[in-house]
Amino acid sequence: MTDIPLVSVRDLTIGATTDAGRRVQIIRGVSFDIAPGEIVALIGESGSGKTTIALSLMGHTRTGCEITGGHIRVGTSDITAMNEKARANLRGTAVSYVPQSAAAAFNPSQRLMQQVIEISAIHKLMSRSEAEKKAVGLFRALALPDPENIGNRYPHQVSGGQLQRLSAAMALIGDPQLVIFDEPTTALDVTTQIEVLRAFKSVMAKGGISGVYVSHDLAVVAQIADRLIVLKNGEIQEEGATQQILDAPAHPYTKELLAAFKPVTQVHAAFERDPKEQPVIEVDGLFAGYGLVMNGEPQIKILKNVSFKLERGRNLGVIGESGSGKSTLARAIAGIVPAYGGHILFDGKKQQLALADRSKEDLRIMQIVFQLADTALNPAHSIERILGRPLTFYHGMTGRAREARVIELLDMVRLPAALRHRLPGELSGGQKQRINLARALAAEPELILCDEITSALDSVVAAAILDLLKELQRELRLSYIFISHDLSTVQAICQDVLVMYKGEVVEALPAARMASDARHPYSRLLISSVPQLDTGWLSGLEQDPELLAAFSNR
């Protein structure tokens, strides 16, 4: 590494304007350097300003924000001094960007190749044919299948992992000195994530390109970054070499982050159930699917013969990757997607399969909580209204009593009572998810179906939510069915685990001994793919390529 850093940022401050025209500082005097060929990770939870900083390196700020102070230098060019046009010339050639969700970042109506080589077209770097040749080379380097022709497809025709790698190719086509990765693997399944990380790592190393890797996931960052910068509320908390920070975190916040990763010990049942009690829920040979129903069977069949039993006070984890049908299972149990075969017994009592046929009471005792809190909460309703409705609906509460209960519920999910006058749009992700949960609790259910409720959250927040779930369980004698693609979360709260693949349960395991007991190859692959908080993990990881080929859904 040379002495002069490729990038240097000095006392960067970025301001934002709220609806009301109030100015707020979201980045407060941030300074750091990036040496050529070095990969620096920006760590922090959402709202910490990591993405804002990363984008500012391209001279781009999202609407309402603007760089209010400090200097950004990339190579020889002073970003902060440039006008928009000059910045545009830099984008894609000097600095390029790999978005968080490639699925959203690709124009659905254009072929992939066209978009990958667009940079070369915009900046007139090379002829189309050259560009395509180069792109194919990158595809190969990024271990994309059928590199020759994949470019002719449309975004919806390739898998998420492939899109993510394609977006990397898109970023690299212009030979940038610096690539910004904005949570590039967050949206991916673990098995896929590994391939993508590998691909990134190799191309970056080959090209000696510097990188900024924005993420909230320490384990992932540990695999790829040379140096970590820990951010909170737009300020740098701690900065240092990856290994050093992992081993000896100085700043309390960093410690907190790491704590969220400490391997979980065996979780016990929240309370002792009396043996005479029926299992809270028993599912037997469940079949479900979507689409036009023809002679009793839907066109697209998802669940195939799913059976399990959940004792009161225990929690069942359902793991599997996208397309494994785990969400469909939750919906089938809740009756949103009526099963077309099998039985659901609740407390030994047979349940109607279709939502419409169930009684209010049956609906009340089993509540479902969705993954994306932002879409799960009606943006037009105040929190009070959102929490109040089930109270009125199930328990006929109104007026004072209702308001009191709402405050109580907010307290249960550790939120201030004042929040009840806000709209969902004004809450942070974690807060929304808590409201989401509180709404379920309002019904006073016995079973809660949690569909990926922590996956969209920062690790620290997620950990907090999990603790909350446990407490609530103790207080309210709840049982959870916990659906997730992330083993550590499942292990953190469940006693039993179902591993699902392509709509079927491939294996049922006790959560504590998954690593040891897993027999089915897919479960093993899954378990082995979970990133460890260890810089050497990825390079050391041995996975059977056939297994990968067979199971990871590309």
Partner: protein, 285 residues
Amino acid sequence: MTEKMLTLRLPTPRNLGYSFNWIGRIGLTIIVLWALVAIFAPWLTPYPIGEIVDWDYFGPMSHQFWLGTDYLGRDMLSRILMSARYTVGISLASVTLACTTGVIFGMAAAVIGGWFDILLSRMLDAFNGIPSLLFGLVVVAAVGSSIPVLILTLAAIYLPGAYRFARALAVNVNTMDFVTVARARGERTSYLILHEIFPNIIGPVLADLGLRFVFIVLVLSGLSFLGLGVQPPNADWGALVRENIEGLSLSSPAVVFPSIAIASLTISVNMFIDNLPIKIRDRSE
């Protein structure tokens, strides 16, 4: 069409916790102004609306007749003031009616879906296929002419459009998780429609309403030729323009001012709708 265009960065007083840009305010002011005129017209008009006050016709603006006289030599000011009643009243009533029913049907179709949706959509498409002239004639023939009938007819003519628009919006909202949650809770369709979906499409719907309003104001005058309009000597602004159109080549105030009146109302309605007051909320992030 939701997003508010023309919002200015001008500081606006927030005593009510609302930000309301000046364009919106101008709109509102003019609307209120016309509304007041409509209410107090009888006390404002210098002459009876139907009385021929001048042997001359298409008279110019004068001290005696501020806005000149019309093709019969009637005072234009009085006629415009009185007509405000019918134009503002009828148009608002029917546009509201059309949009309310259209939107409710649209949302219902989106939520219930299936046959209900298909059937309703077909029926309304079909209704769109019936020439409104024929429809208007049938109405007069069947139930005769009166202001309520007029309002209903106008509403009926514009219902399919509103329906189509609302349905498209509602279909999108309907796929949201919060609707699913409400369903899973066991809510009735009526609740889903009114409480979960409606609040999330109201913005575009209003914008759409603004545009329809313009059309209805104009169609109103057209209907009078089917005997469906406001009965003489009263009239609506559109009718005033129509009956005085010969004055156009003489650039007579009798045709100019009603047109200005129409434009002022329709434009301000849209300015207002496009710039509704927004409650001020500060993101905590």
